[in-house]
């Protein structure tokens, strides 16, 4: 009997051990962001004065270009050299546009997991008045050609001394108008950037066939204007053109027109600077009259201020009765108005490429084009067309497409979180190869 009891006990213990086994936990492995250091993260104070580039930009008396940045721990002690990426906001995008889709957290996570190398990511705001000026080059819209790939680089180098001042450690990108702005800056400043990653933007104004692209939107502007028109008399294109926010396509063309085909208007210019760091605000406000009659555009415009598609009294200064007037590239029927459209085409990326002043201005630049067939305003087709052009020039261009699922819907912004991750990986790979 004793033997059986012993056997029973041994069996009991052994089998119980089998059923218990070891504690496995859940198997979940996490990354600890605290390892990055407490200072890594969003730095919102990237606003900077650019003079004279923004001196006559509409309703920007402080000549500020708004910006914010993601700063890696390497910007703080111990300071280590890091590359820099400039991201340009799309139309209506502010300086936090990419942060609203999680840029700060994404950058932290991908850095700590080793997916990307640490980098400064400087985010540039688009204009909040008309949504954006295509990061073009005119007085009313701002002379960005001398900012994005030039003055801004100097500013970043000074502000963050550990930024590597080499093209191989410098990237640029954006979505929408930011995509256009990124390529424009690279073409206007060859050799400044070594990587460009963009998603759906107006990258080919006249499309693959020379008769699509933005041209497809001309009738939409007319329809949009008629839909918001509330006047009692029949709608007149030149008289009743409205810049209301409810007409987003019209807004986009107003911004473009101010950048590419502004009217030669002499405007009164008042510059106000408020020094906040001494005395009372009232006492310290200094009003500076820079130029009482400033010409804002080339006087060689067809017809001067009297083109077929001349629009006036739409865009006003805050305290002036005078207005910034402009010319649209289409008439009241939605048909192209060639003299003005030619001015837009002079700013088309293909033209800028051919007129860059150097052969193969994008030579050695790694490029990524991201598209989504649901992109607004045909931006995907324009991006594809630009990609085809680059391919034809012999550049190596990576392309990636999102189509979304039933849940992840149509608008471009639905994918921005994923696009940011892909852009960061692309740039980081380029930076690693260059260094």
């Amino acid at each position: 009997m004793r033997t059986y009891i012993v056997i029973f006990a041994v069996l009991l213990v052994g089998l119980m051990a089998l059923t218990s086994c070891e504690e496995r936990g859940t198997g979940i492995v996490k990354h600890d962001l605290d390892d990055l250091g407490q200072f890594a993260g969003l730095w919102p104070l990237g606003d900077h004065v650019y003079q004279p580039e923004l001196s006559l930009q509409i309703r920007n008396p402080q000549e500020l270009l708004l910006g914010s940045a993601y700063l890696p721990a390497e910007c703080f002690a111990p300071v280590k050299p890091v590359p820099v990426l400039i991201l340009l906001a799309p139309e209506n995008g502010d300086k936090f546009h990419y942060f609203k889709s999680g840029l700060e957290t994404i950058a932290k996570e991908m850095t700590i997991s080793g997916e990307i190398e640490p980098m400064v990511i400087f985010c540039v705001s688009n204009d909040q008045l008309f949504g954006g000026y295509f990061y073009g080059n005119s007085y009313p819209a701002g002379n960005y050609d001398n900012i994005i790939g030039n003055e801004m680089i100097e500013y970043l180098n000074n502000r963050f001394p550990n930024v590597i001042d080499q093209a191989s450690a410098r990237g640029i990108g954006g979505v929408g108008q930011g995509a256009y702005g990124a390529f424009r800056a690279a073409l206007k400043n060859p050799g400044v950037f070594s990587s460009i990653a963009v998603a759906d933007g107006p990258l080919d104004f006249d499309g693959a066939d020379g008769a699509s692209g933005l041209m497809d939107l001309f009738p939409s502007v007319i329809a949009e204007q008629q839909s918001i028109y509330t006047g009692g008399v029949p709608f007149d294109f030149r008289r009743d053109f409205d810049s209301a926010a409810a007409a987003p396509i019209s807004m986009m063309f107003i911004g473009g027109a101010l950048a590419f085909s502004p009217n030669d208007t002499a405007v009164d210019y008042t510059r106000t600077i408020d020094y906040h760091n001494a005395g009372t605000d009232l006492d310290d406000e200094v009003v500076v009259i820079v130029n009482s009659r400033q010409s804002i555009a080339d006087a060689s415009l067809p017809g001067g201020g009297d083109s077929t598609t001349f629009i006036q009294n739409v865009v006003g200064l805050e305290s002036e009765v005078r207005n910034f007037d402009f010319h649209l590239p289409f008439d009241g029927t939605g048909s192209v108005y060639q003299p003005i459209w030619d001015m837009w085409l002079a700013n088309n990326l293909e033209t800028l490429h051919d007129n860059a002043g150097v052969a193969d201005p994008l030579d050695g630049v790694n490029m990524l084009l991201i598209t989504n067939p649901h992109a607004k305003w045909g931006y995907d087709e324009m991006t594809d067309s630009w990609g085809d052009f680059l391919d034809a020039q012999g550049y190596s261009v990576e392309r990636h497409q999102y189509v979304g699922t039933e849940n992840v819907g149509d608008p471009n912004e639905q994918f921005l979180y994923d696009i940011i991750r892909e852009m960061l990986v692309f740039h980081s790979r380029n930076f690693s190869a260059g260094n």
Partner: protein
Amino acid sequence: MHKGYMEKRMRRIGIAASVLMVVLLGSSSVLASGFENTGLGTTARGMGGAFRAVADDWTASYYNPAGYAYVVDNQLGGNIGLFSNRHEITADYVEYDALGNPYGWGMVNDQSIYNFDRILNNPAAGFVVRLPIWGETVFGLSGFQRFDYSIGWRFYSPEATDFRAYNDSADAWAPSDHYRNDLDVVAFQVTASRTFMEEKMSLGLGLQLLRADLVFADMTLRDNPMDGFISARPYDRVPEFTNNQGSGYGFGLNFGMMYRLNEKLNFAITAQWPFDITLDGTTDFRYIMPSNPLQRDLVNMSQEELLYVSGELVNFQSDFETKLKLPPSMSLGLAYDVTEKLTVALDAEYTLWSRYEGFEFAYSNFVNLPTWVDTNGTRYTIAEDFLTTDLSNPTEWDNAGKIALGMRYHLNDVVTLLGGGSADQSPSRNTAQITPHFVDTGDKYSFNGGVVFHINQWDLGIVQSYISYPDRSISDFTDLNDDGVFDNFPGDYKADTYETVLSITHRF
């Protein structure tokens, strides 16, 4: 029968019945196809469940009530099954677009995730007593878990999946085991059995009072109902955590027939019919809202829109009601006494699992819903339609069969050896409707072995059981009822279960 002996016996019975109630209602356990119990008793379990045509101890109440008629003595017995589920899932909880781009939401993918290691217990107890009523009718009272399942998982971890951008507090706020299923259906069964045809045949009937207890925790990724940027990725789906805890009562019937074809061969037929049980209780809701402070601070929004960028933890409660549709089953059994010492048995069971349709939770009487007060002092509930939506966990199971083969060998007066196995068809074999709530990956095989020691009036038994599951891969999401909510859980499933059954029986 001696009066003192009867009193003593009834006292034992009373104590046993009380203990039985307490133990069973406080237990947790697991297993078999769908969520059917693996069985009870060391002899039956040691024979792989092939016990319906043997049924000669108190556990016959579960396998074949007709077996009571042939139990020669009075018995008071109990057993406990100790389970350890050793499952793992490598999740693929990602939605892909037509070009293969993945869209995830903080579920840990591409890592082996284990269910929470818990030693689960499945107690059962009962007694058989011959009372001089209606001749030699044998009565019994027993309690056992007719159906039971218990498992818990955690897959949601934004911190482990680089998904903190949704809400960097989400990891801490998510319940520890956000997939949890504790489903117990305990049967308190009164059994009566007697012989007919000069003891060649016996019939038995068990009347069951069923008590069902449910703890069902779930995570549902709800479509963010807002437009534009507010619902753009990573904010496109809002995790909703629910914890439903409730119970209900029902009835069931357990019928058995045993026929002695000759001195060595027994034949058995059984049928079990549990009726539907309505479960009600309370539900704790927890929503982890998207956190987008920049959007919140810089853009004018309505109060409802603000909720979807607030990053708040929204907790509230409600009552719930759901129906548990339990499956009837039918069984056949054969037992053959090869020698005086060796018995071989074969069982076949068919369970109508197609009756089970999952859970549809209907919520009511909400408490602590989020509100806001306007400048006039009027209080409004925010996003009530979204937050209070009924949820469901539908399934599409098939009827399933099971075959068990077992042997019992009386080594001597003290030791009985047991061995057996079973092939258990899975009710989810034809569906992609697999979730961590019921890890039933396919047709299973169990291997059992054990020993019973007979010491005076006591029987002590121990059985070890291993259940092998096939690996299973679920590759795509399904939405059975088109409510926009995923009804399955894609991933690679692996499962094993170990069980040790201990028993003690007193014959008097």
